[in-house]
C-alpha cells in the first residue's frame, strides 16, 4: 500500500547538512499495521512525513496506493492526500471549532455539502465514542478524547491509509491502551492500512503486525513483530526488545556476569519462546538429560501481537560440553537461545 523506494532526505541548515533519511526502502502491505521504531533523532518523523509529502524526499520514490507522490502536480498531490489520513502527537485540532466542526474540516475542504457531512460524521462520532461531545470545544476534552477527535477527523475523508505520528506519546498509559485498541478496531473494521512511528515498544508489542527499526536515518532491521521479538537480529533490536519485556541488560544484573568466558565459568543464557506450555518440560528434560542445573535469573511473560511469549535468563551450571549440547537441544525445539555472558 505504501512503498518507500530508496528514499533519502537531506536537511541543509546553517550548521551544515543533516542526512535524516539515508536510502530507506520499506514496503507497508495493505491492511497491515506497520510500526517504525527508533530513538529520537533517528529519522522516524521525517519518514512518516515523507509518506504524505509534508516532507519532500531529496531522492527516491514514495508510492502510495500505486501513485508516486513525488511525481504528482500540486493539485494531484492534494487529491492524493485526501486518501491519506494523519494523526499527530499533539492532536492539532482547531481550538476555536467544536468537535463536529473539526471532524467536518476535511469534508469542507473537499467541498462536500452539509447534509453529506452530517451523514458521514454521525457514525464517526459513534465509532470513536464521542457522540455526547459533538458540540464541545477541544479545550473541554481530555488528551485521549482529543486524539479520538483527531482520529475521526482523519477518517472523515475515508482514506485508505492512516499515518500516526507518535499518536500516543503525549498520553498516559491507560489512555494509550484505549487509543491503541481503537486503532486496532479501525484497522480491522475498515481494512485501513496504518503506518505509525513511535519510540514506545509498548505500541509495537500491542498492535503492530510488522516493525522496522530506524537508526541514523537507516532501516537496520525489519520483520514481522513475532519474529522481531523472538529473534532480533541486531544489537539495537535486541536492546529495544529487552526494554519492552522488562528484561534487564546483563550488565545491570547482580552476580557479576561477564562478557568473556573464563576458566570454570558457567554460561548465562537468554531463552526466548512462543507459548508457555512446552517450556517447563523442555528445560527440565534438558537438565536431566545433560546433568545440568538451570537457575533462573529473570523471567517475564509478555503478550506480543496477541501471543504469549516468554523471556528467560538462566544460569547453566554443569559440564561445559553438556551445556553446549543442552543449548542445541533447546534450539532444536524452537526455543531461541543466546549466550548472554558468563558467571563464575
Amino acid at each position: 500500500m505504501i512503498r518507500f523506494e530508496k528514499v533519502s532526505k537531506v536537511f541543509r541548515g546553517s550548521s551544515g547538512t543533516v542526512k535524516a533519511l539515508d536510502d530507506v526502502s520499506l514496503w507497508i502491505p495493505e491492511g497491515s499495521i506497520y510500526g517504525v521504531i527508533g530513538s529520537s533523532g533517528a529519522g522516524k518523523s521525517t519518514l512518516i512525513r515523507c509518506a504524505n509529502l509534508l516532507e519532500r524526499p531529496t531522492a527516491g520514490r514514495v508510492v502510495v496506493d500505486g501513485r508516486d507522490l513525488v511525481q504528482l502536480s500540486p493539485a494531484d498531490l492534494r487529491n492524493a492526500r485526501r486518501d491519506i489520513g494523519m494523526i499527530f502527537q499533539y492532536f492539532n485540532l482547531l481550538a476555536n471549532s467544536t468537535v463536529y466542526e473539526n471532524i467536518a474540516l476535511p469534508l469542507k475542504l473537499a467541498g462536500e455539502k452539509a447534509a453529506r457531512i452530517e451523514e458521514t460524521i454521525a457514525p464517526l462520532l459513534e465509532l470513536v465514542g464521542l457522540e455526547d461531545k459533538r458540540d464541545s470545544y477541544p479545550s473541554q476534552l481530555s488528551g485521549g478524547q482529543k486524539q479520538r477527535v483527531a482520529i475521526a477527523r482523519a477518517l472523515a475523508s475515508q482514506p485508505k491509509v492512516l499515518l500516526c505520528d507518535e499518536a500516543t506519546s503525549a498520553l498516559d498509559p491507560k489512555t494509550t491502551v484505549s487509543i491503541l485498541n481503537l486503532l486496532r478496531d479501525i484497522n480491522r473494521k475498515l481494512g485501513l492500512t496504518i503506518l505509525l512511528i513511535t519510540h514506545e515498544m509498548e505500541v509495537v508489542k500491542s498492535i503492530c503486525d510488522q516493525v522496522a527499526i530506524l537508526s541514523d536515518g537507516q532501516v537496520v532491521e525489519h520483520n514481522d513483530v513475532e519474529s522481531f521479538f523472538l529473534n532480533p537480529q541486531t544489537d539495537l533490536a535486541r536492546e529495544f526488545v529487552r526494554a519492552a519485556v522488562h528484561e534487564k541488560p546483563i550488565e545491570d544484573l547482580p552476580a557479576g556476569i561477564q562478557k568473556e568466558q573464563t576458566e570454570g565459568s558457567h554460561p548465562v543464557l537468554h531463552i526466548t519462546f512462543l507459548g508457555n506450555s512446552t517450556v517447563q518440560p523442555l528445560i527440565t528434560q534438558a537438565a536431566r538429560q545433560f546433568n545440568l542445573d538451570f537457575s533462573i535469573i529473570q523471567a517475564d511473560m509478555e503478550t506480543v501481537h496477541g501471543k504469549t511469549m516468554g523471556f528467560l535468563t538462566v544460569e547453566v551450571v554443569g559440564d561445559e560440553l553438556n551445556a553446549k549440547s543442552a543449548q542445541a537441544f533447546l534450539r532444536k525445539h524452537d526455543l531461541q537461545v543466546e549466550v548472554a555472558g558468563y558467571v563464575c
Binding site: L54, R81, M86, F88, N92, N96, L105, P106, P138
Partner: protein
C-alpha cells in the same frame, strides 16, 4: 449647558462615529489581508517569499513611523484624489485609513503568528489549498486575536480622529479644541471628554465580549 451645545456635541459625536467606523472598516478590509500576506510570505510559512516579506515589513514599518498629524498633511494630494476634496469629515477618512492599515496589518500578523504550525500541517495533510488554509484554519484560529486588534485600532482611531480637526474633519476632538480651548468653554470641553471616554469604553467592552465569545482556548 444649552440645547444648542447638546446639538453640537451630538453632531460631533456622529462625525466621530462616521470617521472611525468607515476608516475602521477600510483598515480591516485592507489591513487584515495585508497582515495575512506578510504572515504567509514568512520564510517558514505556506507561501514563503522572503524578499517580498522583508519589503512588506519595511513598508509597513515606514508607514507606521510617520506621526499622524504629519501624515495627514503630507498626503493631502492623495486625499484630494480619493475623496475629491482635502477638507472635511469624508476627507479625514483617507489619512485615518492610511494610518491604521499598517497598524492593523502588524496586529493581524501577530495574531496569525500565534496559530500553531501543527494546525497548518494538519490542513496540508488533508489536502487543503493555501487559500483554504487561510480561510479555514488561519483566520478562524486567529479570530480572537484579530478582534482584539480591531478593538485596539478603533480606540486608536477615536484618538486620531481628534486631530482631524486640523483639516476641518470635525468630530468630538475638533469640537473640544474649538470650543473648549479656543473659546474657553470648559463645560463643552468637559462634555466632549466625557463623551469620548464613554465611546472608548463602549468600543472596548464590546470588543472584549466579542473576543470572549470566539475564544475557546
Amino acid at each position: 449647558m444649552s440645547a444648542e451645545s447638546w446639538v453640537l456635541i451630538w453632531e460631533s459625536l456622529l462625525e466621530t462615529i462616521y470617521m472611525v467606523a468607515v476608516s475602521g472598516a477600510i483598515s480591516a478590509l485592507v489591513g487584515i489581508p495585508l497582515g495575512v500576506l506578510v504572515h504567509i510570505t514568512r520564510p517558514d510559512q505556506i507561501l514563503a517569499r522572503p524578499v517580498l516579506h522583508r519589503v512588506l515589513g519595511v513598508v509597513v514599518n515606514a508607514a507606521r513611523s510617520v506621526p499622524f498629524i504629519i501624515l495627514m498633511v503630507a498626503i493631502i494630494p492623495l486625499t484630494r484624489l480619493l475623496a475629491g476634496t482635502s477638507i472635511g469629515t469624508t476627507a479625514a477618512i483617507v489619512p485615518l485609513s492610511i494610518a491604521s492599515i499598517p497598524f492593523v496589518a502588524r496586529i493581524a500578523e501577530g495574531a496569525l503568528n500565534e496559530v500553531p504550525g501543527g494546525l497548518i500541517e494538519a490542513a496540508e495533510a488533508m489536502g487543503a489549498t493555501p487559500f483554504q488554509i487561510i480561510t479555514r484554519v488561519l483566520l478562524p484560529e486567529a479570530l480572537p486575536g484579530l478582534i482584539h486588534g480591531m478593538t485596539l485600532t478603533l480606540v486608536t482611531l477615536v484618538s486620531y480622529s481628534a486631530m482631524a480637526g486640523a483639516i476641518g474633519g470635525g468630530g468630538l476632538g475638533d469640537l473640544g479644541i474649538r470650543y473648549g480651548y479656543q473659546r474657553f468653554d470648559p463645560v463643552i470641553m468637559l462634555a466632549t471628554v466625557v463623551v469620548l471616554v464613554v465611546v472608548v469604553q463602549l468600543i472596548q467592552s464590546a470588543g472584549e465580549k466579542l473576543q470572549a465569545r470566539c475564544e475557546h482556548k
